[in-house]
């Protein structure tokens, strides 16, 4: 049995009928076809599925779509400019080799943005703490931390 759901995704109003058991990540990927949000573990461990709900990072594999009713969801697709120019945090990941295969990257970027929203100039230690829930099997994290630091600087207008 489906129930009606309305919410905002990347600034657009969305209405759909969903089964209550639909996970937010499946709603985003399968219903909305926004496949930038990845499923790495499906057990709330890896953070590849991280999106923002009302500005806060959450693991969308561990949340029901109906829990996001009437709230604002932002996915990785929602952060670049309309003309496709990368968000400064995305650009920093590219410039500083913050990714290799890229599977973890959307989640890393969304977690990084959540951190920078509350701490515009985080220390490397804070960055490592904030990315506790995001796993990367490629990079060894070093360049991710460097990228987040640079992305935060770029966002506050310094280069």
């Amino acid at each position: 049995m489906t129930i009606p759901l309305s919410l905002t995704v990347n600034g657009q109003a969305v209405r759909a009928d969903v089964e209550p058991r639909t996970l937010l990540v499946d709603f985003i990927r399968d219903h909305l076809r926004l496949t930038g949000t990845h499923i790495g573990c499906d057990t709330a461990q890896c953070g590849a599925c991280t999106v923002h709900v009302d500005g806060q990072a959450v693991k969308s594999c561990n949340m029901l779509a109906v829990q996001a009713a009437d709230r604002a969801v932002t996915t990785i697709e929602g952060i670049a400019a309309a003309d496709g120019t990368l968000h400064p945090m995305q650009a920093a990941f590219r410039d500083h080799h913050g990714l290799q295969c890229g599977y973890c990257t959307p989640g890393m970027v969304m977690s990084a943005l959540d951190l920078v929203a509350s701490d515009p100039a985080p220390s490397r230690e804070r960055i490592r703490e904030a990315l506790d829930g995001n796993l990367c099997r490629c990079t060894g994290y070093q360049n991710i931390v460097v990228a987040v630091e640079a992305g935060a600087r770029a966002m506050s207008g310094e280069r």
Binding site: R21, L23, D42, Q56, A57, V58, N62, M63, V66, D132
Partner: protein, 265 residues
């Protein structure tokens, strides 16, 4: 995950009647434990009653030498609350160490203590501070609330509405986190309260417990050295691939010492 009916509660009274009307209804708080269990089909409720929209269950109130924290207050909100940071910084610190950033944005105080995972952090905070769990029908002392592994004193359908934390003279929480899961391998909450010194341990046993030998030593002298040399019996403690019972027993004294250092700092 098996299908279920989804119902949004408007108030505690509404949640109560919705749970009562369901064949096998379960409350949904942050879902950080329950949704995972449902995905694994370890839980298959007929109805989920979502407390997410119940405003009266959220927030921190200060007064009368205590803090009252609503059951639906998230770990992130407790960690960030100015009142909690000022009056019981140890509790804000504990909440800020739960899981990771994303889990803290969703997970709640009520969900955590209702679940009573043997390695969860809040049980140590509640027992360490001598808190009281307020439900839709009564108030339960923390000492009597956590009854066993994943077991609490809650009756079927009983809803936690808030927890009342008396403000201690000083307190601290020291957690030795499992490096993979971030749950407590051993976590020790130490508090100097009007009712005496309390030492509550999570992660080490099947359920949170107090250690009278440590409490007695710290009552005499509330300094880190006071617990030096106190050996904890490893009998009955948890042993798994992450740590043996003897190692956990050893960590209890070590983490107690560290907590006292922080409390006195």
């Amino acid at each position: 995950m098996y299908a279920f009916n989804y119902l949004k509660a408007q108030s505690v009274a509404d949640a109560k009647s919705k749970v009562a009307a369901a064949t096998d209804g379960k409350l949904l708080a942050g879902g950080q434990t329950l949704i995972a269990a449902m995905k694994l089909r370890l839980a298959a409720p007929s109805d989920l009653i979502d407390l997410g929209g119940v405003a009266e269950l959220r927030g921190v109130k200060a007064g009368n030498g205590e803090l009252t924290i609503g059951a639906m207050t998230t770990h992130a909100d407790v960690a960030g609350s100015a009142d909690v940071k000022r009056r019981i910084p140890a509790l804000a610190d504990l909440a800020g160490q739960i899981g990771d950033r994303m889990v803290r944005h969703m997970g709640t105080l009520g969900g955590s203590i209702a679940n009573n995972d043997p390695a969860a952090d809040y049980p140590a905070g509640l027992v360490g501070l001598g808190a009281a769990v307020v439900t839709d029908r009564r108030t339960i002392d923390a000492d009597a609330f956590f009854t066993g592994m994943y077991e609490t004193a809650l009756e079927p359908g009983e809803i936690i509405t808030a927890v009342r934390f008396p403000v201690p003279q000083r307190a601290a929480y020291a957690k030795f986190a499992n490096p993979a899961s971030r749950y407590a391998l051993v976590g020790v909450f130490v508090a100097q309260t009007s009712g005496g010194v309390r030492v509550a341990v999570t992660g080490a046993g099947p359920v949170v417990f107090r250690v009278s030998a440590l409490e007695a030593a710290l009552t005499k002298r509330f300094v880190p050295e006071a617990v030096e040399g106190i050996a904890i019996d490893a009998n009955g403690l948890n042993a798994d691939m992450h740590a043996g019972a003897e190692y956990r027993a050893h960590l209890i004294t070590v983490m107690t010492r560290r907590a006292v250092e922080v409390a006195n700092a």
